[in-house]
Every structure is written in structure tokens, then in C-alpha cells.
Symmetry: C2
Subunit: 296 residues, 2 copies
Amino acid sequence: MELRQLRYFIKAAELSNFTEAANALFISQSTLSQQIQQLENELKTPLFDRIAKRVRLTEAGKLFLPAARKTIRDGEDGKQLLKDLNELTAGTLAIGLTYGLSDLVIKSLKIFTDNYPKILVQVIYGTPDGLIEFLSEGRIDFLLSFISHQHSPIFESILLFESKLSLIVSGNHPMAKKTNIRLSDISALPLALPVTNFSIREFLDLALARQQLLLDIRLEANDINILLQLADAGTWCTILMASSIFNFPNLKAIPITGKEMVRQATITWPKDTYRKTATRTFIDIIQIQASNQVFA
Amino acid sequence: MELRQLRYFIKAAELSNFTEAANALFISQSTLSQQIQQLENELKTPLFDRIAKRVRLTEAGKLFLPAARKTIRDGEDGKQLLKDLNELTAGTLAIGLTYGLSDLVIKSLKIFTDNYPKILVQVIYGTPDGLIEFLSEGRIDFLLSFISHQHSPIFESILLFESKLSLIVSGNHPMAKKTNIRLSDISALPLALPVTNFSIREFLDLALARQQLLLDIRLEANDINILLQLADAGTWCTILMASSIFNFPNLKAIPITGKEMVRQATITWPKDTYRKTATRTFIDIIQIQASNQVFA
DNA sequence: ATTCCATGATCGAATTTACCGATTAATAAC
DNA sequence: GTTATTAATCGGTAAATTCGATCATGGAAT
């Protein structure tokens, strides 16, 4: 039994006429006749009475017709489901996110969910390593981070924007007026920094090692918001990407000079897997947002 | 999209492994791979992520899987419906019946409905002509009557039993002791007979005309039961088939002599149409009942 | 009655499709 | 590296679908 046969049967039952049904189906009458017979053979039940020059549904045929219709309809429903999914009216979108890119995502999310309210969006914060793992497992659809995987065999990345490593200080901090600063100028400041397994910290530590500098680290936290609040209160300064302070109007990001101090925000997804429309659409949105945004 | 492809997809989704799925489906791995691709093309949506050496459902695939299962299940349900119908656990049986054969049907019905309680039985009384019309229209499945259609091109008949036209009298009637009677002996009796469009009346009138006899007809009725009750009360006699008096133990049927006075009870159904199991089964039962029954 | 028309079944041929086996490519595990 | 596993691909074959033509039947028109 195949859907084709059910489609033929339904049309023939509706028209009670094989010739007309065949025309409506754009097949020959002989084809229709044969396919109906084949269906009847498989069901071991005649579906039509062949009386004189017209056909009429048998009782079995009458019973089978609604069942056949239902089967066809279910098949169509399945197709529609996928169509809806591609048209962003259903489904989920799981976004992996490292600290420091929240602002961009939040702005983009507003645009996305306004246009596609039926998509369930999941925002998963994590470390780059952990999120890469999630990406492999298919638990997130893509990943926003400052780590590029442009040369990976299994991941693909595109650049969103560049952001400079910056000293984050409160607006009334003595250094708040500076437009840029050298890494060596910071060494005297008491700092609150992310813990060492955060990628920004790894990035910073690498630069410090290269320049053979040490910093006055007074506090470590595994939460960027805490660091920002501490800076906002004027207690300590911190070092983060310039793009991290969007939520704190009182804070100032003073870019640290040096071309190695620039990090690239990227979107990463698994190579050679289907990217659903929700993913592609969201990435489009986030790219536009990124290009509109101006970071130091 | 065909059910075959859905079956393949479901198995592959369940096993997350094309090779195993192909084995389970008794097809080659290449066939499975191709059919899945074909389905994906039609849906314009990849259903599996091909990552490294194993496949994994895409979100679209996860969404589509229950829909595919439902479609398959509905198809199976349709088949089961017909199976049930053939196995007499569902469906209807519409019996056309002329007056005079009720007793046989009622006895057979009891056996039938005891064994197949889910079959809805419809008993349609009518005149032979009307019932033949119903048979043509498919409103009844078969017809019990004293009219044979053994030589009709569109109807088929089998003989159930023979019954003699009889004078029906109350047990205390002067003639009740007779074992048979000639038609000419009846002409003096006041009679209550079926109306002229009843087939038994047509049959009787034909015989009377042949023998150039007239009867003393005092009453006509279009209901056999009324005639039987009148006879039972001793008011009048009537002429019916011997098989009609089963419900009236006080009545006696005195066969009328002459070979033309024998009528054949038959079952008739349309030639060359599917006879459902309910029909075939009921006919079997009624044939057995008829052979067990002894009529004058 | 006879002819004509409409309809479904059937037949043979052509086309399409499903299927298989062998091979290739990719990758994970050793 | 090497091996084993797995899915994709290719070419060929068998099967199924489809078509056109024809046949058989029954109803309608004449």
C-alpha cells in the first residue's frame, strides 16, 4: 500500500468514475484501473463494485475511504510541519553564548522574537570549550564567542565584529577621561578579573606573559556581571572586552593599545550540517546588528 | 512522498544507523540511503545530520518522525478496518425480506448476532419489486423471497427450500383435520387474502385464472400478520405459504395440491459484486436453518 | 433490433523507479 | 599509520509504473 494508491482511490471514489478520476489525476485510465486493483489485492477486499458502466464503492470501500483520506491528510500535515519550521513558525533555536556578547544577542533576540514569536529560543551561557562540546552534541545550534574556528575541519565561523580589550572603570575614576591606555599602565591598579579558565582571561594572561607584566589582581570571579557591578561601584577596575559594558551607562571602557589586544567576535556552527531557517535568519539579524554597533 | 519512504525513515530514525536499518528492512544500505535522500529532497529539508560515521536526526527530522509514525499508523488502521469487516467484527448487514420468510430469518438472526454482535443488522421488509430495486441500489445486501432470479444476468439466486401454498385455518376449523386440499375445494370458503400486488397473491391469481376458478374473497390486507390473526380468531381463512404460520401454534396449514402450488424460497444477490463476509456467513447460516426446517 | 457511445479491463511496450553490489570517502578507534 | 565502520555514490538490473491501443460490456439513441 502506497500513498499514491490512496490518492488514486480517493479521487476515483469521489468521482465514481475511473476515466474522470484518471484525467483529474493526470494519469491514464489504465494506470488508475491497475493501481486500484493492486490496492484491492493487497487489502484482499474489493473497494468498488463494477456494475455495468460505472463503479460504486462497496461497503468496504465506504469504510476505507475516510481512513484513506486521514492517511493522506496526516502525510500532508507532516510536510506542512516542516514547511512551518522552515518558515519560522515553529521550532526552537538554541544559542550558545560566551560572556561579553550578551548585549548583541539581546538586541538581536528582540527583533527575532518580534517577527517569529512561535520559535522557542534558548540562550545557553557557557565557556567556549563547554559550548563547543554542546555544538558537537547538537544541543545548541550555533555559538557566539571570541574564539574563531575558521580553520577547523568540523566548524565554520564568520566574523561579527572586532572588539578591543579594555580597562573598565567607573565614570568618576581618575582614568575615565583617557581615550586609550597601555597594558603596562594598568599594572598598578587593583583589579577584579575573570577566573583563569575564562577565555578572555587566557587571552589576557597570554599578552601579559609576552610583555612580561604582572597585574595587581585582587579578586577573581566566574561571572562577568559581578565584575561589572564591582567596577560600577568604583571598588575595583576590571579588564573586559569593550563590548561588555552596554548595560552599565556609568562605566567607561578604555581600550588597551596594541594590535594583539583586539579580539574577534564570531559565530560558529558545525560544518556540513543543515542549518535551519531559524538559525540562518537569526545569524542574518545578528550580523546586521553587529555592523550597526560601534565598539571602541 | 510514499509510505515506503516513511517506513524507511522511521526505522533509520529509530536506529540512528542506516546500515542496521537497511538490514532490519531487508533492503540494501544504498537503497535506504537513496530513498531517504529522495524524501529529503521532496520535503526540501534534511532529516538527518550526517556527522562523521553516524547519522542523527535534525530538528526537522525530530519534528517529522511523529508525523511519519502517525501516517503509517493511520494506513495500518485502514487495513485493520477492512480486516475487521471481513472478520465480522464490524460493519452492517442489510437483509431484504418478503412477507412469509420472517421465521427463517428470525431464527438465523439469533445465531448470527450471538456470534457476531458487532455487526449491525438491518431487516428491510418490502415487496419483491421494491426489494429488487433496493438490491440494485446497494441498499440491501441480499434478498429473501419466493421469486427466483436464477436466470437473470444481473442477479444470482440459490434455492433455500420449497413451500406449498396452503389454506391457513384455525385448529378448530372443520377442515383442520385434512392433510391436503384442492384449490377448487376452497372456492366456497370466505377468505381474507393479501392485496393483489403481493407476490403470493399474484401467484395465486395466476393459478386461479389457469383453472378458471373464483374465490370468495371477503377481505384484503397488505399485512400478513393481520391475516394470520384473523385466521387464528377463526373469523376467516386465508391462503399463504405453509412456512408463514410458525408464530401461530393454533393455526394449521393445509397444503393445496398440484405441482404449480409449490413456491421456492430463494436468496438473491447481485451478480459479480463482492459479497462481504457478513453476507456469506449469514447465507450459510440461513441455508442450514432452511435444511433443518420441515415444511409441508 | 441495431448502432453508437461511454466505461472499465486487459495487453504489450516503453519508461521510470527501486534496488543491489561494488566502490569510494570520511572518520573513529586502535 | 592501520583497521573498521559507515554513509554516499556509481553503474547496472529487475521490477513497477505508466501509457496507448484494443477489447468487452452495457446503456442510450435511433
